[in-house]
């Protein structure tokens, strides 16, 4: 079946005149595909990494498709209502008050219970995944590239430039991330945007450090000198010869940090500096639920667990990736899987 499909695809591409191009493209990237396959195999061997990957994937799916999932459930509910199977018309919506009983217990229709305004906590926690996802993606994708760039320049050129960049970085790294983020968020005024800006500002320096250290050893490689002997420009050497060889630890750190950003963002909201009500942010929901901890423990515990599981998932995945990307460990896996 699979082969038939592949053959059909090849035929089609041939007819369109892209056949040879496509096969050449695949041949060129054969080793890359093999590398991915190997990493995939290695990840599959570790149950912890697998669990971490699963949690991360669930987090992404819930974050991206949260509204669709809610719509689906609501469709089901209205169907059940029109059939007379359930008596109330229920709509799960993170903002709708009195959608259920105040501080209602988890039930079939409100699986995570309700808050003091009768808002459905399932809808709120699910939407919270999207808030956390957006914050992490923005912070990581805005914070890491400048960190990599400065680390590359600092490590590659050395001298005065390096000195300057490292002094600035040291200032940022002198404070714990949360304290610095709190200070910045507080000075910008509470809100989700401030939290994102604060976390982004806090985030780049550790990547400067990491990348610089890697570049210092990578630039001593003979192939870097060989590139210089050929006349390759400094920029191209940094991008083509150094970066690909130091990217593994950056990927590992970014994965671990994904979880850390979720925690710190929740912490900022928890102390009132991040997302403001009624935004369904996990840390904020935990805080709001504290008043009712005895009466309605699920109110705080469920979003708290969501933060915990997300952070745990990225940590397990990051650790798994570290093992896979470590050349020594990978070699033993290659050996075990019959390559080399």
């Amino acid at each position: 079946m699979k082969e038939k499909l592949a053959r059909g695809l090849n035929r089609m591409l041939d007819l369109m005149g892209y056949g040879e191009k496509w096969r050449e493209w695949k041949r060129k990237r054969r080793a890359m595909f093999e590398e991915w396959e190997l990493m995939y195999k290695a990840l599959k061997r570790s149950p912890l990494a697998k669990a971490g990957a699963a949690m991360a994937v669930v987090f992404f799916i819930l974050g991206i498709f949260g509204p669709q999932i809610l719509a689906l459930i609501n469709g089901l509910y209205s169907l059940l209502y029109s059939q007379g199977i359930i008596k109330q018309k229920i709509v799960l919506d993170p903002y709708k008050i009195f959608a259920g009983p105040r501080l209602g217990k988890p039930s079939l229709l409100h699986p995570f219970g309700c808050d003091e305004y009768g808002r459905d906590l399932f809808a709120r926690v699910l939407t919270g995944a999207r808030v956390s996802l957006i914050v992490s993606v923005v912070v990581i994708s805005l914070g890491i590239p400048p960190g990599i760039l400065l680390g590359l320049v600092s490590g590659y050129y050395g001298g005065k430039v390096d000195e300057f960049i490292m002094r600035v970085t040291d200032v940022f790294l002198a404070f714990p991330a949360l304290v610095l983020a709190m200070a910045i968020a507080a000075s910008l005024g509470a809100g989700l945007k401030s939290a994102i800006i604060a976390l982004t500002i806090v985030w780049w320096p550790s990547y400067v450090r990491l990348v610089r250290g890697q570049v210092l050893s990578a630039r001593e490689n003979v192939y870097v000198e060989a590139a210089r002997a050929i006349g390759v420009s400094n920029l191209r050497i940094m991008v083509k010869h150094i970066l690909p060889n130091i990217i593994s630890p950056v990927i590992v750190l970014a994965t671990l940090d994904f979880g850390t950003v979720v925690i710190l963002n929740a912490a900022l909201s928890f102390i009132g500096l991040g997302a403001q009500p009624p935004t369904p942010e996990w840390g904020r929901i935990v805080y709001d639920g504290l008043d009712y901890l005895m009466m309605a423990p699920w109110y705080s515990i469920i979003p708290g667990t969501a933060v915990f599981l997300t952070a745990l998932g990225f940590n397990l995945l990051g650790d798994g990736l570290r093992d896979v990307l470590d050349p020594r460990i990978r070699r033993s896996i290659e050996f075990a899987s019959g390559r080399e």
């Binding site: 003979v222 590139a227 002997a229 083509k240 690909p244």
Partner: protein, 321 residues
């Protein structure tokens, strides 16, 4: 007489020795070296490990900046070149490194590795892929290796790829820094023969560096002997072996496992003795005097200059003054 392609003029390179960020001394890696290389010639450079051969080779390609002195290529100082001229020099002068295991980027396919020089210098060729396949065939590899990564090759094959990368630019001058010393003996001979054939085909000029006298002899027209940052003797290949002048050269030859029949007739046989002195604080006077059986008072005080003592024979030794 033809002008030399390269003139090395009193070249000096010191590396600072640091302990806890404080400079405590200097390695005299290359310490006042002068010689010339003619077009189409293979100039051998032989010396023990640590004598400064690699440093000299890197200086001659401007991969290092000298402490003092100059390298003149085609009549121009290479350290004054800028922009387009520097780029043109980078095209004309190339290097093959000692260790093929580290001289190829592990993240690039052979195709990418060989494309790079072509792209950087915008070499105009009708079909890049075909050109690269031809390069591979020239060094005894083939199309099937195009999209492999370096780790899929043996040491000898990697060195062939490094040589193909040099050939891509059709350089005039190539530094071969112990290109075979990391390889098995059987592979060494193949690579050396290939390098010789390439030279006669493309009229390359080589600086051939090695610590192995027999290899240098096989490859070179002229040979310079290096000792602790200095060149102590320069001679045509055959002359050096039939009649070594400097006591150090004589000592090196006596250590050869299979003596050359011509060489055994030579009168002086010196057994190796003593230790190579430190390049951080080389002894005053002649650097070889602590090990030299013929050392006199003058050798301890005064540094001998490299002088022509017979036609085309240069030696730095007070015995010949």
């Amino acid at each position: 007489m033809e002008a030399p392609l390269i003139q090395v003029k009193d070249l000096v390179k010191y590396f600072p020795v640091k302990k806890l960020f404080i400079t405590v001394g200097q390695v005299h890696a290359v310490d006042g070296v002068s010689f010339e290389i003619m077009r189409g010639e293979t100039f051998g450079l032989v010396g023990e490990s640590g004598s400064g051969k690699t440093t000299l080779g890197r200086l001659m390609l401007r991969l290092l900046t000298p402490t003092s002195g100059d390298v003149v290529y085609n009549g121009r100082s290479i350290f004054e070149l800028e922009g387009g001229e520097l780029k043109e020099f980078r095209r004309r002068a190339q290097i093959v490194f000692q260790d093929p295991y580290t001289s190829l980027n592990p993240r690039m396919t052979i195709y990418d590795i060989l494309s790079e020089p072509i792209n950087v210098h915008k070499i105009r060729i009708p079909d890049k892929r075909e050109y690269i396949v031809k390069l591979l065939e020239t060094v005894g590899l083939g199309e099937e290796h195009l999209y492999r990564y370096p780790h899929e090759f043996s040491g000898g094959q990697k060195q062939r790829i490094a040589i193909a990368r040099v050939l891509a630019l059709r350089p005039e001058f190539t530094v071969l820094d112990e290109p075979t010393s990391a390889l098995d003996v059987s592979v060494q001979a193949q690579i050396l023969n290939m390098l010789k054939e390439l030279q006669s085909e493309f009229k390359f000029t080589y600086l051939f560096i090695s610590h192995d006298l027999s290899v240098v002899k096989f490859m070179s027209h002229r040979i310079a002997v290096m000792y602790v940052g200095k060149i102590i003797e320069v001679a045509p290949s055959d002359d050096l072996f039939s009649e070594p002048l400097h006591p150090y050269t004589q000592m090196l030859l006596s250590a050869l496992p299979v003596p050359d029949p011509k060489y055994t007739r030579s009168k002086q046989i010196i057994k190796p003795r003593g230790q190579v002195p430190s390049a951080i604080s080389p002894p005053p006077g002649c650097r070889f005097h602590p090990r030299c059986p013929f050392a006199r008072e003058k050798c301890k005080a005064e540094e001998p200059e490299l002088r022509e003592v017979k036609p085309s024979r240069l030696v730095a030794c007070h015995l010949y003054s």
